[in-house]
Structures are given as structure tokens and as C-alpha cells.
Amino acid sequence: MLELLNNLVFGLGVAITPMNLMLCLIGALVGTLIGVLPGIGPVATIAMLLPITYGLPPVGALIMLAGIYYGAMYGGSTTAILVNIPGESASVVTTLDGFAMAQQGRAGPALAIAAIGSFFAGCVATVVIAAAAAPLTSIALLFGPAEYFSLMVLGLIFAVVLAKGSVLKAISMILFGLVLSMIGSDLETGAGRMNFNIPELADGIGFVVIAMGVFGFAEVLRNLEQSHNRDIVNAKITGLMPTRADLIQAAPAIGRGTVLGSVLGILPGGGSIIAAFAAYTLEKKLAKDPSRFGRGAIEGVAAPETANNAASQTSFIPLLTLGIPPNAVMALMVGAMTIHGIVPGPQVMTKQPDLFWGMIASMWIGNLMLVIINLPLVGVWVRLLRVPYRHLYPMILIFCCIGVYSVNNAPADVYMTAAFALVGYWLVKHDFEPAPMLLGFVLGPLMEENLRRAMLIGRGDATVFLTRPISGTLLTIAAILLLLSVLPTLRKKRDEVFVE
């Protein structure tokens, strides 16, 4: 306990330097700014803003990216409440009561309670991360290659089962990502693989190329096809602060949402989406008068917003302790860390404690800043919502182009990004989710390495994955999950959650 406190204080010391404080503030501000803009989700926001962190020291860069992430999530909630369009899938439920409140002229309290709930969740989740980090890291250090491989398989299966759409198609997307990650040179022998002796492919396809192509550009291509008429609440936003009655009503919902979100966020895949849905459903079940929900019940905003913020924060746990990104945003974080020469995993905590604890402490600061900057700036965000899409996409375009180009100063990377934009566009047209592909691409080299080592240690015996107890258990859980997801009854339940 004392150690935990010491670590957090040490982290605060790192995060609170003027430079890092500044970066955290800019990150949260810019993240919200871009996240509020229509048609740009958190993944696209981070992909697009990645280049502005290139020149920073690693700690500062990650603090800023984390700030961007929270900002983008908060921006998503803002659009959910004000225009009935969820900025990201985790705030889908927020639209139900949030927009209803906005129509009643109570957009201010809705936004405020979302911010307050998120801040509370952020405080708790920060402590949860700090507390979970040390034990999980020490477990991870005991893992051999076989256990690591099985853990990654389990993580990927979780991500597939807990995401929307067909499980089979999601698995094929993971494999697609894995195959793409094999391009380049073999880690052990240095042999060129599937690169057709093209020098630009000798080091493989860059992570940024795929992320910006499939998440940045492809999203633009899809958005260009839709018309962008949206009805923004015209009622003047008066009275930002919730009343005392609002707060009393929302407080228990915030508490329950925090617990649900912190737990569910650790699960790979749609952790934060499921957390938001679960929290909303729970509140509706517990309410004395469930019919208020959908008509502007403040708990209906507080619970899911709290839960999804707690979850989006605890989803850092698998990344920071095990080095395994549980979702697309965390995969982007891996990419960002790699650019700065950090290999995510259990060794980060021991070898770079300033980075580790600094980032965790900055999460709390980031959440505080969101409350401080966002409430007064609501008016600005509302005006931003009216920016037409024809002004937005050129901005995404040029940011991504410069970002991709300046990783290696290589025009070839920009050409490849254009190609992956078309791949991403095609995937969307055939209803394939690109997120598992990104996970597969990021985990590919790590999976291969551990698979190879495990096989070598097991003297070519593939049953080693099943006979070693931890590895066997992990794989069994993965198999059960996969079986459950195909069962018709559970399938229906799962589809209900993701259809809206």
C-alpha cells in the first residue's frame, strides 16, 4: 500500500513538470477538439495526431497521446449528447438519455455530469491500474514463451468474441494482420520475407502506414459517401451545472458505473462498449421507475459515461503490464511506443519507471484537465459541430500525409498508405472489421517469436502448449470462449448488445 502511494507520488513528480503538464493539457484539448468533429473517432484522432508527438521525448509523447485519447473519448460523448451521434461506439447508449436531456434544454447538466462521472471514474481507475500493475507484471515475468503465446491467443479470441459482427470474419482479419506483419525480414535469420526484393519493403510495412491507411483514410472515403445533415440542438444551453437533486440522483450510478467499467475494461475487445451497455442496463433494472430511461434520466447519462471512461482507462492494464494491446487504440499506443524505441511489456515498469508511473499519474491529471477545460468550452465545441465535412477531410488528409512521410522521410510509405486506404475501404464494403487486423499486425512478430521459442524448447513438440499448466489453462479458456460465441442463445444476446 505504501509502495503504491510512493509510486504514485513518484509518477506525479514526473507528470507534474511544466513541460509534461503542458503536453497533457494540449493533448486533452486537441483530442477533444478533433474528437468532437463529426466522423472522426478516437482511433482516427490518435492516428492523425501521432506525428505531432514525433519530436517529443518518450514520456512526454505518451502522456500527450494518453491525453489525446481521453479527449477524443470525451469529444465522442459530447456529440452523443448534443447531436445524437455517438463519436465512438462506447457512447452509443449515452445518446438515449443524453440527447433527450439536450432536447429538454438540459444539455449543460448532461455534459457536466458526464464530465464529473468520467473524472471520478478516472481517479478510481488510475489507482486500479497502479495497484494491478505490480502483481500482474511479476506474473508476466514468470511467463515462458509457451505461456506468452497462449496468452496472446486468448487475448485475440477475447477481442474477437467481445466485438461486433461475425466471429469467423474477425478471426480472418486477425490472420490477415498476422500475414501482413510477416512481410519484411525474419528476426532470427535476417532473411527477406515476401518482399519481392523491393528495398522499401525490406523492413516490413510500417505500423503507421496501416493505421493511417485503414483507420484515417478509409474512414474519409466512407464518410465522403454519406450526406452530412445533422440536427444540432438549437435550444440555448443555459445553466451548465447540475442541480443538487441531479447530483444526488446520479451519484450511485457513477459509483456502480466505475466498478463495472474498471472490471470490464480489462477484457480485450469491446471492453468499454460492453461496460457502457452493462452500466446502463443495470441502472434501468435498479431504478424505481424504469420508464424515465430514454426520456432524459440523468443516471442514463452518468452510468454509461462513467463506465466507459473507467474501462477505457483500465484497458491500459494489459498493455502496460503484459505488453498485449487489448484493442485498436492500445495497438496504436504500441505503435507510438515503438516509434520512440520502447518495447511495451513487463520490463517497462522495471527499466523505465519514470515512463511507467509518469504515464499513470498523467492519466489522473488528464482527467482533471478534461473537467476544467471542457465545461467552460462547451460553447466552442457546439460551434465546431457545425463545421462542414468538406473542410474536415482535407485536414485529416494533410496531417496523415505529413505524418506518414516524416516517420522515415519516405515517399514510398505514403504510396503504401494510399494502397491501404483502398484495402480499408474494401474491407468496410464487405463488412470486415479493421480493428482485429490491426491487433494481429501488432502482435504478429511477438507471436511468431514466442511460438518459435516455445517449439524449440519443447523440441518440436506442439503439445507443449497444452501440457504446461498455465498455457493449457489459457488455451482452454480461449477454446471455451470460442465455443460459447457460436452457441445460438449467447450469440443472440451478444448481437443485441452491439445492435443499436
Binding site: 519530436g55 461475425s166 510477416m182 459517401e225 477531410y393 500525409c401 464494403k429 470486415f432
Partner: protein, 159 residues
């Protein structure tokens, strides 16, 4: 009308073309990857060769791709979606233009023209507004990336 046709006459027609063709393309890509990596040595005794993991993953992709195609053949699903023409072509063209010109002519000219090409990608384009906006964004990028973040980008053509 179309619905009735799908239910009665077209037993032979593919019932979920999105999945059917999607699965086939993935399977074809897997085959291509297997071919592309066919020169790589495989297992040496207990040890994986450089070609083992690529073949393993491509093989699994081939299987799942074909499975998706088969499922698309026997279960119902949405029809193929239409592809945009103007948007993708002009947008991708602008990206390619950026890649081709960033080195020879520098950031200022390259990004301005790129932005103007991209502006034409939507049918809602308003030319005067777009050109002004392209100029503003160009200045913004120069200030942010070159002066603010000190990225080593060439500003003007090299002679």
C-alpha cells in the same frame, strides 16, 4: 420485386455476396502470400525456419477465407454495396500527388495542390472556399510541423 426474385427463382444465386466475394479475395491473398513465401526455408529439425510462420498464418487465412466464402454461399446476407467513384479516385490521387511531389517541390506547393485535388473529392465542393481553405491549411501545416515541431521537411523546390 427484388426480394421475391431472391426467394424463389434464385436458388443458384449467391445468397450473401458480401461474404462470398470477401472470403474469396482473402483466400486468394492467402494463396498469393504462400506463393510469395515459397522460396523461404521451412522447418529445420525442431526449429522454425523463416518460412514456417508465414506459411502457417497464410494457411489459416486460406482456410478461414474459404469458410467465409462457403458461409456466404449458404446463408442469407446483404447485397454488395456500391463503390464510390469520384471520392476514392480523387482522394487517392491527391495522396499519390503528395507522395510524388513532397521531395522535388517541397511542402508548400505540394500540400497546397494536394489539398485542392482532395477538395474536389466531394460533390459538395465550393471552389473559391476550398482554395482559400487549402491555403490556410498549408500555412498552418508549415507553422506547426516545420517551425513548431521542427520536422525536417523541405519547404520550397530545390534548385
Amino acid at each position: 420485386m427484388a426480394d421475391a426474385g431472391q426467394n424463389t427463382s434464385a436458388r443458384k444465386r449467391i445468397r450473401n455476396p458480401q461474404d462470398f466475394y470477401g472470403g474469396l479475395v482473402l483466400a486468394a491473398f492467402a494463396l498469393f502470400a504462400i506463393w510469395a513465401g515459397s522460396d523461404l526455408p521451412g522447418m529445420r529439425g525442431f526449429a522454425f525456419g523463416p518460412g514456417t510462420a508465414p506459411r502457417l498464418f497464410s494457411g489459416l487465412l486460406l482456410i478461414t477465407g474459404l469458410a467465409i466464402a462457403v458461409m456466404g454461399f449458404i446463408t442469407d446476407g446483404p447485397p454488395l454495396e456500391k463503390y464510390g467513384v469520384r471520392g476514392p479516385i480523387l482522394f487517392i490521387a491527391s495522396v499519390i500527388f503528395f507522395a510524388a511531389t513532397i521531395r522535388p517541390v517541397g511542402l508548400v506547393i505540394s500540400s497546397f495542390v494536394t489539398l485542392v485535388i482532395a477538395a474536389a473529392a466531394t460533390t459538395e465542393v465550393k471552389w473559391i472556399e476550398s482554395v482559400i481553405w487549402a491555403a490556410i491549411l498549408t500555412v498552418f501545416c508549415v507553422v506547426l510541423f516545420v517551425y513548431g515541431l521542427k520536422l525536417p521537411l523541405q519547404l520550397w523546390p530545390r534548385f
